[in-house]
């Protein structure tokens, strides 16, 4: 799992931004209601919390790389925090899906 996606931060995020995103995600995935998500967020934060951890993850622990671009797309969308989309946006998506073949 890509910790950047789990925490919803860009690659260039610094320690402070990552910490802030971590706290935001913790509020969303509390250990009581979502223990799995809580553990995932914690692991993600440990992986990129500072430059040392980021480099280690990047070059030595980033073994679970997606196997293909579409797998990357799927992983990205699975791990990205699902924010509540407003109904007009969701409706457009559903309408668009009816046109797909």
């Amino acid at each position: 799992m890509n910790p950047y996606l789990i925490l919803d931060v860009p690659d260039s995020a610094d320690d402070q931004a990552i910490r802030s995103a971590y706290l935001t995600q913790l509020r969303r995935h509390s250990p009581d209601t979502d223990p799995v998500g809580f553990g995932r967020v914690q692991t993600a934060y440990q992986n990129i919390k500072d430059i040392e951890a980021r480099c280690r993850w990047w070059f030595f622990e980033h073994a679970e790389s997606p196997e293909s671009p579409i797998a990357l797309l799927i992983e990205r969308e699975q791990t990205r925090p699902h924010t509540a989309r407003p109904w007009p946006e969701l409706r457009s998506f559903l309408r668009h899906c009816t046109t797909l073949h």
Partner: protein
């Protein structure tokens, strides 16, 4: 759609022309060209209604659906009105526009038609489709007439976040299970579960959406998002839906095309395809799918498929050949990040892995030697920083050295690597190697300012001043404004001058100093012009080359000089010449430039210096000189010391001074007491200094003392506390003869103004409380809050006189002691 049309009368068979017309009409119908089909069957219907009418109705229905899909509702209604005229009553004239052909504006047109169908339909499938059209086409919850649709739409408008659960739950419960809208409840619950991080529950909900619903088109994508895809590999439709979900619908086709290439290990072709078709690729730092894809492609190269040279070459060909500087910077950033790979540890595995990757990257990327050298230099920089943080690190030093050797091997002209190696050597204990290295480096880079400066500094430290001056002068030719160079030249010239004086060559020394003065830069903090002058005079005085310079110097420079240099001058003169006359002259010039109580404090400090000549033959004159100076400047002192806070500052600052000097201050203090004989802090300080005219234990109001301490600056407070501590030690040694530190004070440090109400202030029985108080100060100093400090002082002084001073006569006759401290 088949229409059972009753056979009314036998008709003649089609002629060949009619057959041809019918054939073309059927062809139009199959191809979705309903208008042309309608025209063909319309003409046939006149002669062969039993055979042509069903086809005519079907063509008109298709035309009406097409119109509806385009949002042409009125035209579609006209067609429907025509159909009602020609079609039998039992004909189902329901309009169901084909999926994928409904334009955005046409959805709203479907709502009233869907409402009609929903009321008329008896089949569940038709109802579900109509319900979906009603929900997806409604502009607002008030638009559709169906109550369930209104509830669903209201809930969707509110949102499916956790915060809206209280509002949406009653709405969803109002939708019965048999309602054609009930699958929307499952969809809503699925979205809520997905948003709240419960993908398993979300997948369960999504699976309950019926297949004939319009919603089902999105369900495979939603199941994939939940981690429970319907098929192991996503279908193209799912990929397109996922791209739409990710707000990148245009990326679906490039990904679908690149996917089989990638999986068949044709990564190079896939990369080429992606770079040509995906806009915005190789943009780093952004929070977009393109950025993730860029990272994926680069990571695949750097981490996973470093041995795939075809792919690596394709990647780096593209990146290197790209005109976008961002891409180049991105790869550079990636390389640089590798340098940090061994940021923290001494794990040699990581180090070798990092170097292996670097070598691989360099080989595949065909980086220039300078670039490779730069990468290794960055790596070495990391290790050197680690050495500074952890001096005992065992691996960082060898790793840094190894990386620097690589860097220099790749690019011998990499000055940064050389200088870093210089830093590395300077951290070691082998100074001779370091010096030789610097000399070699200077020969290699004779025109590099940084090298020359480092060598110059090193030479100054080695006291090879001539060589240092040569280096600094060479550097000055390259950069005339660098303050490090001018400062270095001054240091070198001063060193040469000192050597010359030592070797009895005062003329040469003077010339060096004159040159140094000429090139002195006032912005040079370490060796300012003042200090240079002082040094020159001192050196001349030491050698006896210019006796008259001292007076000349004092007259010319002292009125303007900073006080610290004046003191330095005074002390140096005294040390060098052993003649107090120089101090006196210096001080005479010095005092007019000083103001306030600091003037007197400086004076006392100088007098202390005079007394440092206790063993010299001139010591006997010290007191006389001090008295003369004081007599000459007494008026000046009195003029400046006019405020109470100045006097207290003076007392606090000079508590270390010996009593003869304090005796000089006593007239000032007595003058102040003449104004306010009950000043508690002054009384306390005077008692502490044991002024001979203090004859009784003064009473100290803790609040007065506390007020002053609160208002004073921190250094003053600290001095006073030290003073108190010293006082307590003196008492302990002289009167009680026991070590106060061995006692454990159990004082309540919070000041209680009523604690000592019943005590007699003159009662010596409170000595123990004093000892406790001073011991508490000793213990609590530095960690006491201001409030506790005040409370402690209240405990010390609030209820008793000062111990050790109880037998002295009352210095303030006619002024009774204050009875008690105020209660509030």
């Amino acid at each position: 759609m088949r229409i059972d049309f009753p056979q009314l009368m036998p008709e003649a068979p089609f002629t060949p022309a009619q057959l041809a017309l019918e054939k073309s009409g059927l062809e139009f119908l199959r191809n979705g060209k309903f208008r042309k089909a309608r025209d063909a069957f319309k003409s046939l219907n006149k002669t062969q209604p039993s055979r042509a009418l069903p086809l005519l109705i079907e063509a008109n229905l298709g035309l009406a659906n097409e119109m509806i899909a385009k949002g042409q509702v009125s035209e579609a209604n006209q067609v429907l009105a025509y159909l009602k005229n020609i079609a039998p009553a039992s004909t189902n004239l329901t309009l169901t526009p084909a999926l994928g052909k409904i334009s955005g504006d046409a959805w709203s047109a479907l709502v009233p038609l869907a409402a009609q169908r929903l009321g008329a339909s008896t089949q569940p499938a038709g109802s579900i489709r109509a319900a979906d059209e009603m929900i997806l086409g409604a502009a607002s919850p008030d638009h559709p007439g169906h109550p369930d649709a209104k509830a669903i739409l209201t809930a969707l408008e509110i949102g499916y976040g956790a915060a809206a659960t209280e509002q949406t739950t009653p709405l969803l419960r109002s939708v019965p299970r048999a309602s054609p809208f009930s699958h929307w409840v499952f969809f809503f619950k699925g979205m809520t579960a997905l948003e709240s991080g419960d993908p398993a529950r979300a997948a369960d909900c999504f699976r309950r959406v019926p297949e004939n619903s319009l919603l089902h088109a999105s369900i495979p994508a939603m199941l994939t998002l939940c981690g429970a895809p319907a098929t192991p590999l996503p279908t193209p439709r799912t990929v397109r839906a996922l791209c739409a979900w990710a707000d990148h619908p245009t990326l679906a086709e490039p990904l679908l095309q690149a996917e089989p290439l990638w999986r068949n290990k044709k990564r190079s072709k896939a990369l080429t395809l992606l770079t040509k078709t995906v806009p915005g690729l190789f943009c780093w730092g952004a929070r977009s799918f393109q950025a993730d894809l860029t990272r994926f492609l680069t990571t695949e190269f750097v981490v996973t498929h470093l041995d795939d040279t075809d792919y690596g070459e394709s990647l780096l060909d593209y990146v290197s050949g790209s005109s976008r500087g961002v891409a180049r910077a991105a790869v550079d950033q990636a390389f640089f990040a590798i340098n940090f790979a061994e940021y923290s540890g001494c794990a040699h595995r990581h180090f070798t892995e990092a170097l292996t990757k670097l070598d691989g990257i360099s080989r595949v990327a065909q980086l220039s030697p300078a670039m490779q050298s730069r990468i290794f230099t960055n790596l070495a920089e990391t290790y050197i920083a680690d050495i500074k943080r952890h001096p005992n690190s065992e691996c960082s030093g060898p790793n840094a050295k190894y990386a620097l050797e690589h860097a220099i091997k790749h690019d011998p002209d990499n000055l940064r690597a050389w200088l870093m190696q210089c830093d590395l050597l300077s951290m070691g204990k082998d100074t001779s190697t370091y010096h030789r290295f610097l000399d070699d480096l200077t020969k290699r880079f004779p025109a590099q300012k940084e090298v020359l400066i480092r060598n110059g500094d090193c030479c100054v430290n080695r006291k090879t001043y001539t060589k240092a001056l040569r280096n600094f002068e060479s550097a000055a030719k390259l950069d005339s404004v660098d303050p490090r160079i001018s400062c270095g030249i001054l240091r070198a010239r001063l060193g040469i001058a000192e050597e010359a004086y030592t070797k009895r060559k005062p003329s040469k020394a003077n010339w060096e100093l004159i040159d140094a003065l000429a090139s002195a830069n006032l912005s040079c903090a370490e060796y300012s012009l003042w200090r240079l002058r002082v040094r020159r005079i001192v050196l001349e005085a030491r050698q006896g080359t210019n006796e008259g310079t001292l007076v000349e110097f004092a007259a010319a420079t002292l009125p303007l000089a900073p006080s610290e240099f004046l003191l330095e001058t005074a002390c140096r003169f005294g040390i060098v010449k052993f003649e107090l006359r120089f101090k006196e002259e210096t001080l005479e010039k010095m005092f007019p430039s000083r103001q306030g109580p600091e003037c007197l404090a400086d004076f006392l400090a100088v007098i202390d210096e005079v007394e440092a000549f206790e063993d010299s033959a001139h010591h006997a004159n010290a007191g006389g000189v001090a008295s003369r100076i004081y007599a000459a400047h007494q008026a000046l002192l009195f003029r400046f010391v006019v405020e109470r806070k100045d006097l207290i500052t003076l007392l606090i600052k000079t508590f270390n001074s010996v009593s003869p000097n304090l005796a000089l201050v006593s007239p000032v203090i007595q003058k102040w007491f003449a104004r306010d004989p009950e000043d508690p802090l002054l009384r306390f300080l005077c008692a502490t200094y044991r002024f001979p005219w203090v004859s009784s234990p003064p009473r100290v109001d803790p609040r007065e003392l506390a007020t002053h301490l609160r208002d004073s600056h921190d250094p003053d407070k600290h001095r006073l506390l030290v003073l108190l501590q010293k006082h307590s030690d003196r008492i302990a040694a002289g009167r009680y003869g026991r070590n106060l530190r061995e006692r454990t004070p159990k004082l309540d440090l919070d000041y209680d103004p009523h604690a000592n109400d019943d005590d007699n202030y003159d009662d010596d029985d409170d000595d123990d409380s004093f000892q406790d108080g001073f011991a508490a100060i000793d213990q609590a100093m530095g960690k006491m809050s201001p409030a506790k400090l005040l409370g402690l002082l209240g405990n010390i002084f609030g209820g008793a006189g000062l111990p050790g001073l109880g037998n002295l006569a009352d210095p303030f006759p006619g002024h009774p002691p204050r009875s008690k401290p105020p209660q509030s």
